[in-house]
């Protein structure tokens, strides 16, 4: 696949066009640290800015101080490794980020401007000033912001290609008519990609085949997005660190990633890895980078692009290989050769990453939401869980920046274990104050197609053609939920009768003796009759629509997480709100059962005499009169 090289060269050239923009920083960094001036490629530029080198291994002298030109979780991630390596860190921040986590973690912090990114995190002058002032020897850009390719020059003659591509309908395949085997081949999903693809493909085609005529055809296969992590040094060495499967996407943004891919066999993996390494070597790439491919159902793979930076989803690679990519980037940047040989790179177990976003998954699989994290608790107490985040309780998810809350990574000996741990981790993640996409993430990872590995970049729209609607309860799950909700309700009621020091009370307390709590629970507009009774200090026996369930828990009503065992099945639920009138909203199996979302409304209404009322319903009619003997299941009160 020599075409890849050509493609990469084109990318490099394209990157060079924006060097004008990045040069000041480069010079500045050189001023403090670097003896060489990387003048020929954007990759080198990135490398220069990315690292440092001082000594984690005391024999390897690296930089004394690195400035991290980013915010949020990636800034925290980089700072962590720097700390491990004994390197001092400088954070930059905008006004509104002054008390954010990455600022607190860094040894020094410099404000580079007001909230909008163009005035702060992309404010080159201010960042330069910060570098000078703090005498940072190198800069790590993280991902996004400065690390991002901004735009490619537009090519006028690509307009025709765009017109044709539009006629065919996206996605389209652009390929050299003379070529084959992936050379000069591009897949385009929109106009912009068509223009880029047209330009690159024609260049490639011209150089490879001496014929720049192109074909544009519909791209029909269900593609998977699989990428290879590479790591190169300045001595001409490069490694491939296996692949990451990133097919679950929405609006071209990855949502769930894993490593390795369930789809690749070792032969394909090796082929892709070797080509990615060949590409990196060809452009003398010396840092961590990612070569992205589309892979069709026959395991043919097509080069998409190379990302010359640390990727958001790099932790899954770290989990299965045991490498610290940031540390390797720093070492390499200082000029040390790679410490590993290709044969040393293992695939140990399986890792999955979910991107937890502050967004509403019920609207186009995720519309950003903003707000303040009134409560926030990461599930790091569970085994095999890593959370990369840059926020804390009280943090604001603002309109200015990416609404990502964290990256939740679970790791296990195999895929099944990693996914089970992810399920638990999602259930144990406490996020209050903003809308989040836990429900969607949890649905994806338990989806049978996902579990079988039958996924593509169109997964979400295929599985949820009418949009995401939350978890659909099976009858069994519904009964469990009803049993848990009623137990919770009774637990609250019983606790309200517990007073301390009441034995000294002037007027003695006479606890009501209720053997059976007859409850009427409204869920999804259906009313269920539930009878709950104590069958032990922490166990309730609950009869739901005729079937009996035993619910056991510590019933700690202050904890945001409640671990409940229903007939021996362990569930972690979150009671998000509770009203005196009986309304509760509960997060169960990832989905919030609450008012306000059409999914389901739970209104647990006990009443001694079995009356029921919803929060917003008006009592329409009451079908009993005082003194009547009321039978179980009798309709007592009707709501409008």
């Amino acid at each position: 696949m020599a075409g890849l090289w050509v493609g990469m060269a084109a990318l490099v050239a394209a990157g060079r066009r924006e060097r004008r923009w990045l040069q000041p920083l480069m010079r500045s960094a050189a001023l403090w640290t670097l003896k060489y001036v990387p003048h020929y490629s954007r990759q080198h530029l990135m490398v220069t800015r990315s690292f440092c080198s001082a000594g984690y291994d005391s024999n390897e002298k690296t930089f004394d101080k690195i400035l991290i030109a980013n915010r949020g979780e990636i800034a925290c991630r980089v700072i962590k490794t720097c700390k491990k390596m004994g390197i001092k860190t400088v954070a930059i921040h905008s006004d509104v980020d002054a008390s954010s986590v990455h600022v607190k973690m860094a040894d020094e912090a410099v404000c580079v401007g007001p909230a909008p990114t163009s005035k702060s995190y992309l404010n080159m002058d201010a960042i330069m000033e910060a570098i000078k002032k703090t005498r940072a020897q190198a800069v790590h850009p993280g991902y996004g912001f400065l690390s991002e390719n901004k735009e490619f020059a537009k090519c006028l003659d690509a307009d025709e290609a765009v017109r044709i591509a539009r006629e065919i309908g996206y996605p389209v395949m652009i390929k050299a008519s003379a070529g084959g085997g992936g050379k000069g081949m591009r897949i385009a999903w929109d106009d912009e990609e068509t223009r880029d693809g047209f330009r690159f493909s024609s260049q490639e085609a011209a150089s490879s085949f001496g014929d720049d005529r192109l074909l544009i055809e519909k791209f029909i296969d269900n593609p998977r997005h699989i990428e290879i992590q590479v790591l190169g040094d300045k001595h001409g060495n490069a490694l491939w660190l296996n692949e990451r499967e990133c097919s679950i996407q929405r609006r071209n943004q990855k949502v769930v990633e894993e490593a390795p891919s369930i789809f690749l066999d070792s032969k394909t993996r090796r082929a892709m890895g070797e080509q990615a390494v060949a590409l990196a070597k060809a452009v003398k790439y010396s840092s961590a980078g990612t070569v992205e491919f589309l892979v069709d159902s026959k395991k043919n793979f097509y080069f998409l692009e190379m990302n010359t930076r640390l990727q958001v989803e790099h932790p899954v690679t770290e989990c299965i290989t045991g490498l610290d990519l940031v540390q390797e980037m720093i070492r390499v940047a200082k000029g040390y050769p790679l410490r590993h040989r290709q044969a040393d790179i293992p695939i140990n177990g399986w890792a999955v990453e979910c991107r937890v976003y502050a967004e509403d998954p019920y609207k186009s699989f995720g519309l950003p939401s903003i707000g303040r994290l009134s409560q926030y608790q990461e599930p790091i107490h569970l085994p095999g869980v890593r959370v990369d985040s840059g926020i804390q309780p009280g943090s604001d998810i603002s309109i200015y920046y990416d609404p990502m809350i964290s990256k939740l990574i679970t790791y296990g000996s195999d895929r099944t274990e990693a996914l089970k741990r992810m399920e638990d981790a999602l259930d144990n993640y406490v996020i209050r104050g903003v809308t989040h996409n836990i429900a969607l993430l949890r649905e994806v990872i338990i989806n049978s197609r996902f579990i079988e590995g039958d996924i593509s970049t169109k997964f979400l729209s295929d599985v949820y053609p009418d949009g995401f609607k939350g978890h659909k309860l099976t009858e069994n799950e519904r009964n469990q939920l009803l049993a848990i909700a009623s137990s919770l309700f009774v637990a609250f009621q019983l606790r309200a009768q517990h007073f301390q020091e009441h034995e000294n009370s002037r007027v003695p307390i006479i606890k009501p003796q209720v053997a059976n709590w007859e409850l009427s629970i409204k869920l999804h507009d259906e009313v269920h009759t539930v009878i709950a009774s104590n069958s032990g200090p922490t166990t309730f026996s609950v009869e739901v629509d005729g079937s009996k369930l035993n619910v056991t828990s510590t019933w700690n009503l202050a904890s945001p997480l409640l671990s409940v065992s229903v007939d021996g099945i362990q569930r972690t639920i979150q009671c998000l709100s509770r009203e005196a009138g009986g309304n509760m909203s509960i997060q169960f199996l990832g989905t919030v059962v609450a008012e306000g979302q059409e999914i389901c409304v739970i209104e647990a209404m006990k009443m001694q005499n079995s009356m029921t009322a919803g929060k917003t319903g008006k009592v329409k009619s009451v079908h009993c009169k005082a003194g009547d003997t009321v039978g179980e299941g009798d309709l007592l009160v009707e709501l409008e």
């Binding site: 606790r495 007073f499 009441h502 007027v507 006479i510 005196a580 001694q608 929060k615 009169k625 003194g627």
Partner: protein, 517 residues
């Protein structure tokens, strides 16, 4: 009769005798005309035993004004008097009194048997809420529209007297067309609740208003739930419906002591008293002009984020309500920076004062969160007597002898600072967060006065901020006891309340305090 006598224990004879008297009265009246169908049938067809007549009367009392009127009540979305009681009290705990009382009016044909209803237009008795004793009366709209007769009033007074003798509260569930009863609305010591959409409360109805002031106004506009909870401040909370209201009433009852002689109940609490609250460290915005929600702070500090707010929709620039700290009931007062910057005005001062006095009356410690830029300026406020009304809040805090803990989160300017449970009003523990600014006024206003005509206003302002817009000037004078990290607020307050639980203040004797009304 005899068999019944035998069955009844000796101890119940006295009661039986009392019942007999009532039955005798009933017999006399029955000569006149028939009453309720069941009773009538019994009386007319053949002589009935006293036992049967008791049962007849009881069952008549249970249906109040009859099924037709009960249906009408339900159609309006309302529960009947008895249904309300059964929802409010613990199951099986209601002990009714005066079920046989009937009105004594003879005018306008009221003496007719068809116009007699055993128990008249109110249901009274006692019962338990979560095991704790309470007396209750519930007006029965199905009987003469719940209007207040002499017998009706007598029944209410009777349970009030009983409640007084044992030291237990009275809850009144008002549902009456009679104007006079509205005076008694403030049952349960200041807690009034009326139901959204189905309740109205006014001194004079829309018709009278029209004839006197020529204003066109609907019942809802004049005295509906929205009016009273947002504009007049007459009602303290409004609820969606009867059930919601009664459930909330049960919850509210758990915050209160049975009487002013008792401590507030201490509830079982699962929330650790030493819980750190990291989210508070960043809650106050860096710009001192930016608003934040004081309710967020309250939720984070109190037990299990449970806050029972009183008058949430009236004078929203001040927040008052009940919560618990380590299981112990506390009254919370807080300025709300989100509304009118948290300024004190007439309505918020009165709202706050009323609440502070309520807490003081019932031994409930006060926790005050301060972020107040001052009193609201303007002619409307001055002409309305803001000085007089502001003084009520000041007086109430000064007068209160319950434990008082104050936390200054940000601004504490001028006279409003003094008013908000400051050290000068004998606050027991006064804290400042690092973001606190305790000063006579904000930097801008102060500089305009001090440095009038000064050239470099910005520098002067900066100097003022450096000198005064921080907690130190107050701290060095001992006006605040400590500057604390916001995240430790909960732990500090819980610890303080433990110590202050034994607080005792002796005041010189006086007939009553003289609050500037």
């Amino acid at each position: 009769m005899r068999t019944q006598e035998n069955r009844l224990g000796a101890g119940r004879r006295a009661k039986m005798a009392a019942a007999m008297r009532v039955v005798a009265a009933g017999a006399r009246l029955s000569v006149v005309v028939s009453g309720l169908r069941a009773a009538v049938r019994g009386l007319c067809s053949q002589p009935v035993s006293v036992h049967e007549r008791i049962e007849n009367k009881r069952s008549a009392a249970l249906v109040g004004g009859g099924q037709r009127r009960i249906d009408a009540q339900h159609k309006r979305g309302k529960l009947t008097a008895r249904e309300r009681i059964s929802l409010l009290l613990d199951p099986g705990s209601f002990v009714e009194s005066d079920m046989f009382v009937e009105h004594r009016c003879a005018d306008f044909g009221m003496a007719a048997e068809k116009n007699k209803f055993p128990g008249d237009s109110v249901v009274t008795g006692r019962g338990r809420i979560n095991g704790r004793l309470v007396y209750v009366f519930s007006q029965d709209f199905t009987v003469f529209g719940g209007s207040l007769s002499g017998a009706h009033a007598q029944k209410i007074c009777k349970i009030m007297d009983q409640a007084m003798t044992v030291g237990a509260p009275v809850i009144g569930l008002n549902d009456s067309g009679g104007a006079r009863i509205q005076e008694g609305v403030e049952s349960l010591a200041g807690y009034a609740d009326i139901f959204l959409d189905t309740s109205y409360l006014f001194i004079t109805g829309p018709d009278v208003v029209k004839s006197v002031t020529n204003e066109d106004v609907t019942q809802e506009e004049l005295g509906g739930a929205r009016t009273h909870t947002t504009m007049s401040g007459v009602a303290h909370r409004a609820f969606e419906n009867d059930v919601d209201a009664l459930c909330n009433l049960r919850e509210f009852f758990n915050y209160l002591p049975l009487s002013n002689q008792d401590p507030a109940p201490i509830c079982e609490c699962h929330d650790p008293s030493d819980r750190m609250v990291p989210e508070l460290d960043t809650i106050v915005p860096l710009e001192s002009t930016k608003a934040y929600n004081m309710v967020d702070i309250i939720h984070s500090v109190v037990d299990e984020r449970e806050f029972f707010e009183i008058m949430p929709n009236y004078a929203k620039n001040i927040i008052v309500g009940f919560a618990r700290m380590n299981g112990r009931t506390v009254g919370i007062v807080g300025n709300q920076p989100k509304v009118a910057s948290g300024c004190l005005d007439i309505n918020s001062s009165v709202k706050g004062a009323r609440f502070v006095r309520f807490c003081d009356a019932f031994n409930i410690p006060l926790i005050t969160f301060v972020d107040v830029p001052g009193f609201l300026p303007g002619t409307a406020q001055e002409y309305g007597g803001i000085i007089r009304h502001g003084a009520k809040l000041l007086y109430a805090f000064a007068e209160a002898t319950v434990p008082k803990v104050t936390v200054i989160t940000r601004k504490a300017y001028g006279g409003a600072y003094d008013v908000m449970s400051s050290k000068h009003l004998c606050g027991d523990i006064n804290y400042a967060w690092p973001t606190a600014e305790i000063a006579v006024m904000g930097a801008k206003g102060a500089v305009e006065i001090i440095f009038k005509g000064h050239k470099d206003v910005a520098a002067a302002q900066a100097e003022y901020i450096e000198k005064f817009a921080n907690p130190f000037p107050a701290a060095v004078r001992g006006f605040v006891d400590d500057i604390i990290q916001p995240s430790s607020t909960r732990a500090r307050i819980c610890r303080d309340l433990d110590v202050l639980a034994s607080k005792k203040v002796q005041r010189p004797w006086r007939k009553h305090a003289n609050i500037p009304l």
